[in-house]
């Protein structure tokens, strides 16, 4: 069953057709790769799907529901969670605070409940704290939990961003170049974590330039070029495809 359907989606910036007429079906519980040269429109498509940019035309359906142009924060609450190509996080806040900000439906999220600080709020804080510690342990940064995220290097910030978004319990996770800048030790952790997510039945849509990484991870791959989806298929088929080779060799600046 398709968890996410992208139907004839376009996104134009003035005269630039960053995405034009893209069609995709993201199958529930599977991992889908999205590749293409720089400027192909991959990130732009993510932005449209996650509600960060309005679509110029087309439709996005999630669980059969038309979610085109719904506000991004509502899509995140519905389970469509994305990471950013350049991870930022909340630089002046600690790793723990970054993670603890994320969970949805926190009891103490509203002004009144936060002031009352009733037992339910405290209990949930404790649960979330344990989860956050668990994730930081997993990425080997538990000792740095009280450090500011602004002090991390790009690769570390990317790992923290991933676990921060996992605190939301996503159903569909959109990862924009999750391995870029991540050191080899962390890359192994990352692959292990992504495989665990797959086992848990979480649907992944992953952009990456590292073809080795993306082909081992994905069940299916889409290729974008100049705003269009030019190819879809099994990882093996896609990387051996002549057209893909041409795009990658010819498309590189």
């Amino acid at each position: 069953m398709a968890l996410l359907e992208i139907k004839n989606v376009s996104k134009h910036f003035g005269r630039l057709k960053a995405v034009s007429g893209a069609n995709m079906e993201i199958i529930k519980g599977k991992t889908t790769g999205l590749i293409g040269p720089n400027g192909a429109g991959k990130t732009t498509l993510f932005n449209v799907v996650a509600g960060f940019l309005p679509a110029t035309e087309g439709e996005v359906r999630y669980n059969g529901e038309n979610i085109t142009n719904l506000p991004a924060y509502r899509l995140a609450r519905k389970g469509i969670v994305r990471t950013f190509q350049t991870p930022h996080g909340f630089p002046e806040l600690t790793l723990m605070e970054n993670l603890m900000a994320a969970p949805k439906n926190q009891e103490g999220e509203t002004l009144w409940k936060s002031v009352l600080m009733n037992p339910a709020v405290k209990r949930q804080e404790k649960e979330n704290k344990e989860r956050a510690l668990h994730y930081l342990e997993e990425i080997g940064m538990i000792d740095r939990r009280n450090e500011k995220v602004g002090n991390l290097n790009a690769g570390e910030a990317r790992m923290v961003e991933l676990v921060r978004q996992l605190m939301l319990d996503p159903d569909l996770l959109l990862l924009d170049e999750p391995a870029a800048g991540v050191n080899p030790a962390h890359q192994e952790t990352l692959i292990e974590m992504l495989n665990n997510l797959k086992k848990k039945g979480i649907t992944l849509l992953v952009i990456d330039h590292n073809l080795g990484f993306i082909t081992t991870l994905s069940d299916k791959i889409y290729v974008m070029h100049q705003g269009q989806v030019v190819l879809e298929g099994l990882p093996k088929e896609v990387i051996s495809n002549q057209k893909v080779k041409e795009i990658y060799l010819g498309g590189k600046k």
Partner: protein, 311 residues
């Protein structure tokens, strides 16, 4: 006036500024909203309170305003807070969705409009003559002026500390954490499912309600309300108190107001003759300017920088 009484008076006005600084620190320090309309909410609170509690103006010689409901103080106080909160809601509606600068300009413009409104709309505010002889709470229980001054100081600081502990509680709560995340990065806050606009709005409205309350304290303290009390100089003094004390640190706001207003009021000692007064006023502004430059150069994050909550 004895030194002791002078210090009591200074600490009272410090308290009033400290409370405004706390509010600005909630909206700006925690949430990242730039609100240059602080004094507007104070003015709305003060005048709402005055209209609700003042006697019928037709019984007051020379009054040209039409309304005075002579209701109890606590009703005036609640009305002041609600009116200021409602005002903030209305201005927040169009501006809080936009980037910071729009609100800064919008709120500043509104506070200018409010100042000109209270000067010109005499039917409501009695214009430049304003309200006078406004009673302070429980004044009649005290026979001695100095005993009441001490009581009033404690009363003001009870409100200050009440706000302080409220804000500290917010700071430590999940809600406060989300306010700071919005300050740090709006886009990422959206990506974790937070309705950024709603958070900005609630923080802004809460701060305005408490600023409305400050308006009431100000009316009690001064016993008169005239338009000159509500100029943008107050707003900018508050902003400096917060920067000086440390943006994002509520304790810093109390300290910043004490240092800034304390220094400002203590230099009044030297205002013995008229020549000195003019020179001193100018010197003071220059001194504040130099102080700001020094902070920004050497202690960018203020005397008490914001502290992360460790877990």
């Amino acid at each position: 006036m004895s030194i002791f009484m002078f210090v009591i008076a200074v600490m009272t006005i410090v308290g009033i500024y400290a409370m405004m600084a706390l509010c600005y620190n909630l909206t700006n320090g925690q949430t990242g909203i730039v609100d240059f309309g602080v004094i507007g909410w104070v003015a709305i609170g003060a005048y709402t309170y005055a209209i609700i509690t003042s006697p019928d103006p037709s019984t007051v010689a020379g009054a040209v305003n039409l309304y005075g409901f002579h209701l109890p103080m606590w009703i005036g106080l609640i009305a002041a807070m609600i009116t200021a909160a409602f005002g903030a809601f209305c201005i927040g509606l169009p501006t809080l969705r936009l980037r910071g600068e729009y609100l800064a300009i919008g709120a500043y413009a509104l506070s200018m409009v409010i100042t000109s409104f209270i000067t010109n709309e005499a039917w409501l505010t009695n214009g430049s003559r304003g309200f006078f002889g406004m009673p302070a709470p429980l004044r009649d229980r005290f026979t001695s002026v100095s005993a009441y001054a001490i009581f009033f100081l404690l009363l003001i600081w009870a409100f200050v500390l009440g706000s302080y502990f409220l804000f500290r509680r917010i700071e430590k709560s999940p809600y406060g954490r989300i306010l700071r995340s919005i300050r740090e990065n709006e886009e990422v806050s959206i990506s974790i499912g937070k309705n950024v606009w709603k958070y900005r709005m609630t923080a802004y409205v809460l701060a305005a309600a408490i600023l409305g309350l400050v308006g009431v304290l100000y009316a009690w303290y001064a016993s008169v309300l005239v338009p000159e009390m509500f100029t943008d100089i107050v707003t900018f003094t508050v902003v400096i108190c917060v920067i000086l004390g440390g943006t994002g640190n509520f304790k810093g706001s109390l300290l910043g107001a004490t240092v800034m207003i304390g220094a400002q009021e203590l230099t009044r000692f030297f205002q013995a003759n008229a020549d000195m007064a003019a020179t001193l006023a100018a010197t003071r502004i220059i001194a504040i300017g130099i102080l700001l430059v020094l902070i920004i150069r050497f202690k960018r994050r203020g005397i008490l920088p914001e502290k992360n909550i460790k877990m």
